[in-house]
């Protein structure tokens, strides 16, 4: 049963299995295990980013394509939902319609970009997506009458998902089941389903062709697979998944703006998570996103302490300031590309293989 859910893709390392289980249980019972709003925020972000990073892994890890437009698709889903709720009022129908438009637009755009620029080279695709994504971000901030510009959009979500809504009169296991908790479980459930769907995709015959195209495009072509078609299909799928992650974010945050969806920094975060977790493994997305967001939330506080402790030493103090968090991530990123190209998951699996 479990293997079927995972499409037969075993974690293939005891440590990894335990880690994944811990993350799954932690996320599944987050409202009960870690009371308070900050932990719940963190857990929801982890769920959303697992989908976002896993969908990126479909592209970079399984297809060998580097795209810088992933946040654009993420943003399309989020802005679609946000606009639906802003214009259509706080109903599920409005949110659904907006989400549908956002995801559909993401698919169309991905199709166009894919057909247009995947024929040439990986580098070319990376450059084109970078240019288009930046232009899109600028456009969104310019069209402020529609998107709220840099300030973004604040809107109401359906009442059932707000803290004001109470599902039961009595607390369950000491927790009041309000709309926020429901909202969290909506995010968790959809994210889990999307992640399992991605695992299924990469383990399907389609996924195997993708890997063949990645490893030897020339040979795959010779066998009769149109590499461009497969790459484009992967791009479209990945874009739709990213857009759905965006829908979840828009519902969860009740706010959509450039900084939370479209910024280059989010793109860099995604890159870091996928590389550190392990490209081409799917489980790497889970590990990468969880570790990264936990570190982002809690490690920066630690750096603040370090800054205080080194206040007397000018340069060192500047280097460990919480604002320089990205500096150390950048270093970590470059080092992991050099020395751990398979990321944490690859390491764990290799370690097991070495021991066996």
């Amino acid at each position: 049963m479990l293997m079927k859910l995972l499409s037969g893709d075993r974690p293939a390392s005891p440590v990894l299995t335990v880690l994944l289980l811990v993350i799954l249980i932690g996320l599944a019972f987050a409202p009960f295990l870690f009371p308070g709003s900050k932990p719940l925020e963190t857990a929801a972000r982890i769920c959303i980013f697992i989908v976002l990073v896993a969908s990126y892994d479909l592209l970079i890890g399984y297809t060998g394509i580097v795209s810088f437009a992933h946040t654009m698709f993420f943003g399309l889903g989020a802005y679609g939902t946000a606009l639906g709720l802003t214009l259509g009022g706080a109903s599920f129908a409005a949110a659904g319609l907006g989400a549908l438009c956002g995801v559909g637009l993401a698919a169309l755009l991905a199709l166009a970009i894919g057909l247009f620029s995947l024929r040439v080279k990986a580098i070319f695709f990376a450059m084109v997506t970078l240019a288009i994504a930046s232009a899109f971000a600028v456009l969104v901030s310019q069209l402020s009458f529609l998107t709220g510009g840099e300030d973004g959009l604040n809107y109401k979500i359906p009442r059932e998902l707000t803290p004001a809504f109470k599902l039961f009169a009595e607390p369950v296991l000491g927790l009041r089941i309000d709309g926020k908790v429901l909202s969290y479980y909506l995010v968790f459930g959809v994210a889990l389903a999307l992640f399992l769907a991605l695992v299924r995709i990469v383990n399907s015959p389609f996924g195997r062709v993708l890997k063949a195209v990645r490893d030897n495009g020339f040979r795959a072509e010779a066998i009769g697979y149109k590499a461009v078609h497969y790459r484009t299909a992967a791009t479209v799928l990945s874009a739709m998944m990213a857009a759905m992650a965006g829908v979840l974010l828009a519902l969860w945050l009740r706010y959509t703006g450039p900084a939370t969806t479209l910024s280059m920094e989010i793109m860099v975060d995604i890159l870091l998570m996928v590389v550190i977790g392990g490209m081409g493994t799917m489980y790497g997305a889970v590990i990468g996103a969880t570790l990264f967001i936990l570190a982002q939330t809690y490690l920066q506080a630690l750096m603040g302490l370090a800054e205080g402790a080194t206040a007397g030493i000018p340069l060192l103090s500047a280097l460990v300031a919480p604002d320089r968090w990205l500096l150390w991530l950048g270093v970590l990123f470059v080092l992991s590309v050099y020395f751990f190209p398979t990321g944490i998951v690859g390491r764990l699996r290799a370690g097991k293989a070495g021991a066996a």
Binding site: M127, L326, G330, V337
Partner: protein, 342 residues
């Protein structure tokens, strides 16, 4: 060397083919003409055109190194923008030291300050380029995916280091006294600095063409772009050649950074990644690896951005993407596709 006695008989290529080769050159005047129609006023048009040429040529300065590096070694440095930003900040520091000179009424002193700032910047970014190539790029040579990731990582690190050294805030970079203000020609006000930018850009283009056409290093670069393996088989170390080109490209990015900073009069750590979008569009439009294509692409992007900024300011950047799409539909490999052996 023996005299050429018999005139070579070159197979005449069809007229259409020869025309098609020149066609991209026509795009620049065509776009200028379009701009004139859209703006409707010669003086506004003149101002915008000079601004567009200045912007285009500054982008050319930054993009030319990138495109050559790609042509020679199949490497796109996603961290190229970091050199632009670092260059701007180093230029800022030098010009601040020399603020007595830049504020001096003597034009000569102003220019001397500029010259020193530019020289120091180019030396510094060239040297940083040396380190970047050795440390960041060399280990992942030949692996595209890792190259993109690692150079991107290098960019993040560089931006953060700028924050550490120069602080997190945007800095104001003022032009030397002689380059402030405008000349009024007829009804058109032309900023002095833009003329300087056009002059520097054109001079660089001419110099670059000369080096590529008439020096041995230039010949080797062109030969290497087409078939690096054969250059090696003739006995030349292409890696050394590449390192030189990379350093020159980095130095030019630094020069572009100073010039762009003086143009905008504000510099931020993120300016590099913002400009990189334009640089990439230019390199793609021109054809990856082609200096001529890069030149024309830069002029087109600069002009178009300025015309649309006047006519429809909200879509200025999107218009350049539109230009890229149109060009790629016409020529999928860019205006001047680079012939690669094999």
């Amino acid at each position: 060397m023996s005299e050429t006695l018999i005139r070579p008989r070159i197979e005449a290529r069809p007229l259409g083919e020869r025309l098609a080769e020149k066609l991209p050159l026509l795009l620049v005047p065509l776009l200028m003409l379009g701009g004139l129609i859209v703006t409707g006023s010669p003086s506004t048009w003149a101002t915008l055109t000079v601004a567009g040429l200045a912007m285009g040529l500054m982008i050319f300065i930054m993009a030319s190194g990138l495109t050559l590096v790609f042509g020679l070694m199949d490497i796109i440095n996603f961290g190229h923008g970091a050199f632009v930003a670092v260059g701007a900040f180093i230029g800022f520091t030098v010009l601040t030291w020399l603020s007595g000179w830049t504020g001096h009424p003597s034009v000569l002193m102003n220019l001397a300050a500029m010259l020193i700032a530019v020289t120091v910047t180019m030396l510094a970014t060239g040297l940083i380029g040396y380190g970047f190539e050795k440390v960041i790029i060399k280990p992942v040579y030949g692996q595209h995916l890792k190259q993109i990731l690692v150079t991107m990582g290098g960019m993040i690190i560089a931006q953060q280091l700028i924050h550490v050294v120069w602080g997190p805030d945007a800095l104001h970079l003022s032009r030397p006294l002689a380059l402030q203000g405008s000349w009024v020609i007829g009804d058109a006000a032309i900023e002095k600095y833009r003329i300087v930018a056009v002059g520097v850009g054109l001079a660089l283009f001419v110099a670059m063409r000369h080096v590529l056409k008439h020096t041995k290093v230039g010949l080797l670069v062109r030969a290497g772009v087409e078939n690096g393996e054969m250059v090696e088989a003739l006995g030349y170390r292409i890696r050394r050649l590449f390192l030189v080109v990379f350093m020159v490209g980095s130095a030019l990015a630094g020069l572009g950074g100073v010039m762009w900073g003086l143009y905008q009069e504000t510099i931020t750590a993120h300016m590099g990644s913002e400009i990189m979008v334009l640089v990439f569009i230019v390199v793609i439009i021109g054809g990856l690896g082609s200096v001529e294509g890069c030149f024309i692409g830069a002029l087109l992007v600069g002009l178009l951005a300025n015309y649309t900024a006047f006519a429809a300011p909200k879509v200025a950047l999107v218009s350049t993407i539109g230009l890229m799409v149109v060009v790629l539909m016409w020529r999928p490999q860019g205006l001047y596709p680079v012939v690669k052996a094999k």
